[in-house]
């Protein structure tokens, strides 16, 4: 280890674990990060693939049952017209939000630690939004007429009602899905070109060559690319906030006690980031171990993500307190009853589970040792995922079971189709993610190279020599030669 390298490690010791361990040269970095794509198929991949395909089968059967039987295959009834379907929708769309937060908002804040996890988180966003988008469509009852949601001059002479929150949802979700896809793909293009150039087989060279559209790393392209990428990040930032705000309007704009609350937009956005970071953690902890990304996804990343989970967990807890305060302060007996029903009603166990998972569990992250303990991080991230699903169920379905008039009350219980749609979508999401890890660069290679240079040139008070500058490594410089 050279002196300079030692100094940089020491300097970083003062500010916690480094965002990048060691200083591999560009070729080693490229080969290391692309290894999961370029190396031969592993046994574990095949096993996991078949396990997930089983879940996908369950999902397809449940979707089939929904299409052939109709909504009657679900446990939904009147008054509980929205249950697992919309719970799953809100849960998945919320999970997606962390990806955009990491890739766009942290980019604008120039957080260096985002670099190695942004691609990963964006892919998670994309697949989560794809899963989310299915529920409102199958919930239409006649999903084959889903295109009626789009305003177009039809022979029916009927148009969507833009004064309702539901058509806003159509625009918010489709815009979010499209912009996330464009942002993700724009970031992928230089890395697809790297894959094209690093691949040995002709098929891969051709496929990745087509996918990278002929990217040649031209400075004239980078020049516009960087501006465009930053602008997309700038657009995604208000977009991500607007999407969950609009989703929360689906509830907040209605009259139902438990839904009719002005705190919903910020509370939903915080909850979305909370659950999304938990999902990034759930996926990242095994992936960095199995795929050998520990030098680019370090303890520092886990530590920072745990802090975000703690912070957003506190915001969500504040939301719970405020909901109760407003129920009391509003003086509305119906509102007060809706919240009393959470503590003492027939679904109280789910409410207690929600409190345990979302309020209590993240508190362990006050301890720095817990923020670096992979087991603790993994367990808490799973609990938060469960807790946030429970939260959406309590808000959506439990509020519906007890509305204004006792004669219209009813209980809700899911059928096997409801469970199939939930667990099947988790498997499908897992399958898409597994394929992403196998066929696309999960860590942005070019951004890590850029990060390495930034750390060298603007590192903590140290000017570090790049390997290319090492004596005898390369050809002469004309300036020195003359």
């Amino acid at each position: 280890m050279s002196t300079a390298e030692k100094t940089i490690e020491e300097a970083q010791a003062l500010e916690g674990a480094p965002v990048l361990v060691g200083r591999p040269d560009d070729r080693a970095l490229t080969e290391g990060l692309l290894a999961p794509v370029l190396e031969p198929t592993r046994k574990g991949f095949v096993l996991l693939l078949f396990a997930l395909l089983g879940g996908v089968g369950f999902w397809l059967i449940s979707l089939g049952a929904t299409l052939f039987v109709g909504i009657g295959a679900w446990g939904n009834n009147i008054p509980v017209a929205w249950a697992y379907d919309i719970t799953n929708f809100v849960w998945w769309i919320g999970i997606g939000h962390a990806g955009t937060l990491i890739s766009a908002i942290l980019l604008l804040f120039q957080q260096k630690w985002r670099t190695s996890i942004n691609r990963f988180a964006e892919a998670m966003t994309l697949f989560a939004v794809a899963m989310a988008g299915i529920y409102p469509i199958i919930h239409l009852g006649r999903p084959w007429l889903f295109w009626w949601l789009i305003p177009y001059p039809s022979t029916n002479q009927i148009w969507p009602n833009f004064k309702s929150a539901l058509p806003w949802d159509v625009f918010a979700i489709s815009t979010y899905g499209t912009v996330s896809l464009l942002f993700w793909y724009l970031g992928l293009i230089p890395d697809l070109a790297t894959l094209r150039d690093a691949a040995k087989s002709r098929t891969r060279r051709v496929v990745y060559g087509i996918m990278s559209f002929g990217w040649r790393g031209s400075a004239r392209h980078w020049h516009h690319y960087r501006v465009g990428y930053l602008l997309l990040a700038g657009l995604s930032t208000p977009l991500v906030v607007s999407v969950h705000t609009i989703v929360s309007f689906d509830f907040a704009i209605s009259q139902l006690p438990g839904w009719h609350t002005t705190i919903f937009p910020p509370y939903f956005v915080a909850g979305a980031i909370f659950s999304g970071f938990a999902m990034v953690m759930t996926l990242m902890i095994p992936a960095r171990r199995v795929l050998g990304f520990k030098h680019v996804v370090t303890e520092r990343h886990l530590d920072n993500m745990a802090k975000v989970i703690l912070a957003t967990g506190l915001m969500v807890s504040y939301g719970y307190v405020m909901e109760h305060f407003m129920a009391w302060y509003s003086g509305s007996g119906y509102e007060a009853f809706a919240f009393l029903n959470r503590w003492t009603g027939p679904y109280a166990p789910i409410w207690y589970m929600q409190l345990f998972c979302n309020v209590l569990a993240p508190q362990v992250f006050w301890f720095p040792s817990m923020r670096r303990n992979e087991v603790a991080l993994f367990v808490v991230s799973i609990l938060v995922n469960i807790g946030m699903w429970a939260e959406r169920f309590v808000i959506i379905a439990v509020s519906l079971t007890r509305d204004f008039v006792p004669s219209s009350w009813a209980m809700y219980s899911p059928t096997w189709v409801d469970w199939g749609l939930l667990f099947g979508s988790i498997s499908t999401f897992g399958l898409l993610f597994l394929l992403f890890l196998r066929f696309l660069p999960a860590i942005p290679v070019f951004e890590v190279k850029e990060l390495r240079r930034e750390l060298e040139h603007h590192g903590p008070g140290v000017h570090f020599q790049s390997p290319a500058d090492a004596p005898g490594a390369h050809i002469e410089d004309p300036e020195e030669a003359t």
């Binding site: 464009l182 793909y185 990217w215 790393g217 657009l235």
Partner: protein, 175 residues
């Protein structure tokens, strides 16, 4: 006949110096190829400020105006629904869709503007790809390229070698 001259460099400042020197001698078609955005490349090539923000703005404004007019037409002209006696043209209710369409159009303009307009993609057959060593341009090396007349290719190749390039290749443009 045109030709592309390519030279591979190992060190950033050698490449940037070479680019500056060649540009000073009047080579207008210079380009730098690097695996990551290279600081100083814009200045060395004398690139002007990017106009992508303008594309984004035009896209965004078009989207927002389209969104608002669409809702106005649908809710106030084509299908006026009386819901709770709210006015058919209710601006506050039209904000979310106006915003979403603004973002959508802007993002589409940026993405397709970059790929199709600024980059001229898809173009997988660019002459630089004729050189097998050019694969390193996306992995760990920096390349300088210039498009010149066939007769000027050999002198430029000499010049690049003198400026410190390791691999130098000439790709004659297919006629």
């Amino acid at each position: 006949m045109k030709a592309h001259v390519l030279g591979e460099f190992a060190r950033e400042h050698a490449l940037l110096d070479a680019a500056r020197a060649l540009r000073a001698r009047g080579h207008a078609s210079l380009d730098i190829h690097s695996p990551y955005p290279l600081h100083g490349a814009d200045e060395a090539l004398g690139l002007k400020r990017s106009t992508v923000p303008l594309v984004a703005l035009v896209g965004g404004v078009t989207g927002a105006v389209t969104g608002y007019l669409l809702q106005f037409y649908v809710a106030a002209v084509a299908w006026p629904l009386n819901v709770g006696n709210r006015p058919p043209h209710s601006a506050p209710a039209f904000i979310p869709v106006t915003f979403e369409l603004g973002v959508l159009f802007s993002a589409l303009a940026i993405f397709f503007g970059l790929l199709g307009g600024y980059f001229g993609f898809p173009r997988t057959h660019h002459p630089v790809f004729e050189v097998e060593e050019f694969r390193s341009a996306s992995i760990d090396a920096l390349w300088l390229s210039a498009e010149v007349d066939g007769k000027d290719a050999e002198p430029l190749a000499q010049e690049l070698r003198r400026l410190g390039a390791r691999h130098v290749s000439i790709v004659p443009e297919a006629t």
